[in-house]
Symmetry: C2
Subunit: 450 residues, 2 copies
């Protein structure tokens, strides 16, 4: 019989991986809670009418579609088979969620009567994409989004900056937060005479860090931006100095663009709030930051790890019309998404997980026979009452095997209760790392292991 | 535009529902941890070859199938359309997981080389079934399984009894744990001359509590059990007395069945361990408990709430060959599953959720203007540093609106920082329940709200 396997691009998460992932999720969850964000979950399956057309043509192709249940074939005429897309639309009405943003927008519109705005929620759930699997890209992966919707207040941008600082501070990852503003990008496009090419310009300059200025200039030229405009744009992208200096300099360049000025004003307010908060985070205005997603309309965020080479580990921005696609216009919001898989890789690479994260059990009782086991059961109960994770080896087999089991699982202590210990009322506690042994009276065991 | 909706039988979980659900999941997770069980997650999609044939013919029909991605239709000849099942097999290779048991067995077989046995894991994830939705039955719901595999030790049955006691003790739900043993049921079937009708007998007597003895007798008769055998069976199912008395009495009745005797011996050992542990749980041998699933081979468990009428809220048992379906025979294990939805209903019905479970924020700062907000931001930071969930109303609008927002969200305190407070260095702290207000100096705010 062939060993069973799982679909390509999907993963099992082993206990050690799960404990580390939960360490990340518990950390972000606790920070979100401190800021008044509440948890939300939406179904894995959404109606295709909710999903289709929201991620572009390419996105539609990457949706996992779920076959209608029951006798779906009976309702279709085989002579009208059509191509895959046409056929799919006849035999499938549901798809797996592709991200958490569209389901969130759907939720807000569907439940608008029950919600208090601004509505602050976080959502940590898997999403599915029928992408070609490759290193670091999976067909099932968790997203971890935090958003507030129903307010234009820039206090929320400042709040997200502080959340970024607190999350990565707690995880021990040194980061820089790069900030920009889509209104500024529009102002730049307008100033160089290409307000019509806003999308092309953002797509091109988004690659600056990866491909360098020459390649960006070339791409802009290919996308129809004039040489004169490119010459105007180049120095803006490489402005140097403090955030305030960059904004001042920028104002002299794009000051004739009303939208651009508004963006500069927004950034001044956001940096001002961050100053009032007293954040220690490295926050940097990066005029080449663009972010591909076209629903962003104000501040945009991206977080990079300083000590590990990997793409951005967190990002997001302000959007003004996320719920418009479901017929509820004018709801402004802002949110960021934490990349759990990349954060996991950074923490593994930098050895940042606390040692105890991969462990569950603090002490294992060896099993030397039925009478000894029965006494151990009572001691185990007392340990667990005190919140100490403890277990007993299930069979009174060879001691060597029992010790190996504890070792392989990284259990730091083994408690031995044999006949001497039984009559003396103590356990012999073995430190599995140092190998030392000490007698601990039954009544003192809980305190010793606390 | 029509309001968007979600597929029938699925649910959104609102913030309050999520906080309550997380309270349940966090409680079971913490108890599992105390006993050395480690978390595991498997993909939402499994290969259909893993799922098909594992849940009976009916189960196969209830699988949600995922359409192959790419140009799936191009690979199928429309003239060989066939019926729905045949067509599905051509255009779909993956399905959504139907339970957590089969993926667990698949995982153990696939990763056997990396695991230390006995392998103790818990798994809390959604499963999907294309069942007809009805009250209390959903197409997407969470299962919460805890299992140990790779040991025949009955210490694990005792451990699960203690886990049941601790979980429901922490949740505040009074329960009775009903126990039986499939070997005893086999012994009974053998004794009454119907070893061949073990399945029919268990299916019939499983309904005893629901339909009463007369209906069970009738069903047994319809299923081909002789009148004489039914007469022999009836008094066994209604044996009274303590667990020990029932077992003694049973031994005189089914003592000629080797398997039956083994079951009795197992139960004596399990009750003995439970006594050694000193459990306070109401544990009751119930000879009419059968549990439908045919992979159980030893002890079987079922937990009922004492103060709320609902089906079993937890159940499970010992199995000897779960991994045999994937070519790895002889792995005995035992596990139980907690019914999160029913536990939620019991706790809601009995008002058992702690009051703070539905809340996230402890204090909201009113917003009286930019200068006041900036000072508030620093106070907020100190509160969050101390682990206190706090937020600020995002706009300096009408006070009434701000208070209503805090009220609707169940925030217990509102902190007011106006010009008087600014110059005096204090906040006016309003208790939203009593309506009382008190001045609290900036430096004392954290301690006051801890």
């Amino acid at each position: 019989m062939q060993k069973p396997s799982i679909p390509k691009g999907t993963r099992d998460f082993s206990p050690v991986e799960m404990m580390r992932r939960n360490y990340i999720f518990d950390t972000v969850r606790e920070v979100f809670r401190l800021y008044g964000y509440a948890p939300l979950e939406t179904p894995a399956m959404e109606n295709l009418s909710t999903l289709l057309g929201k991620y572009g043509e390419e996105g539609d192709k990457l949706l996992f579609r779920v076959l209608n249940s029951g006798d779906f074939a009976a309702k279709v005429d085989p002579t009208e088979w059509g191509n895959s897309l046409q056929l799919a639309s006849k035999i499938s009405e549901k798809g797996l969620r592709y991200d958490l943003t569209v389901p969130f927008a759907r939720y807000v519109v569907q439940h608008q009567g029950e919600l208090s705005f601004p509505f602050k929620r976080y959502q940590i759930q898997p999403v599915w994409r029928a992408d070609r699997p490759q290193k670091g890209r999976y067909r099932e992966f968790y997203q971890c989004d935090v958003d507030v919707i129903g307010s234009r207040s820039l206090l929320f941008e400042a709040e997200l900056i502080e959340i970024v600082e607190r999350v990565f501070g707690r995880l021990g990852i040194r980061v820089v937060l790069k900030l920009n503003n889509r209104k500024i990008l529009y102002g730049i496009a307008e100033t160089i005479g290409h307000a019509d090419k806003m999308v092309e310009i953002t797509v091109a300059i988004d690659k600056l860090e990866k491909v360098g200025m020459d390649a960006v200039r070339e791409e802009l030229s290919e996308r129809g931006v004039t040489a004169e405009a490119i010459d105007k744009l180049t120095p803006i992208l490489t402005l140097e100095g403090s955030n305030a200096e960059k904004l001042d300099r920028l104002q002299t360049i794009i000051g004739t663009s009303e939208t651009g000025l508004k963006g500069i004003e927004e950034m001044r307010t956001i940096f001002g709030y961050a100053g009032s908060i007293g954040t220690n985070l490295d926050v940097e205005l990066d005029l080449s930051l663009a972010r591909g997603l076209n629903y962003y309309t104000g501040a945009i965020f991206e977080v990079k790890a300083l000590d590990f080479a990997i793409g951005s580990i967190c990002g997001g921005g302000r959007y003004d019309d996320l719920t418009g696609i479901f017929g509820m216009p004018g709801m402004s919001g802002v949110g960021i998404s934490f990349g759990a898989d990349r954060i996991y890789d950074v923490m593994t690479g930098l050895d940042l997980f606390p040692q105890e994260t991969g462990r569950s059990t603090r002490v294992m009782f060896a099993n030397l026979g039925d009478e000894e086991a029965r006494v151990s059961l009572r001691l185990l109960r007392a340990l667990r009452d005190a919140g100490i994770a403890a277990e007993i080896y299930p069979d009174s087999g060879k001691m060597k095997k029992q010790m190996e089991y504890a070792n392989r699982r990284g259990v730091p202590y083994v408690a031995i209760v044999g006949s001497d210990e039984l009559s003396g009322g103590y356990v012999t506690l073995k430190n599995m790392e140092s190998g030392t042994q000490e007698p601990v009276p039954f009544a003192k065991l809980v305190d010793r292991l606390k």
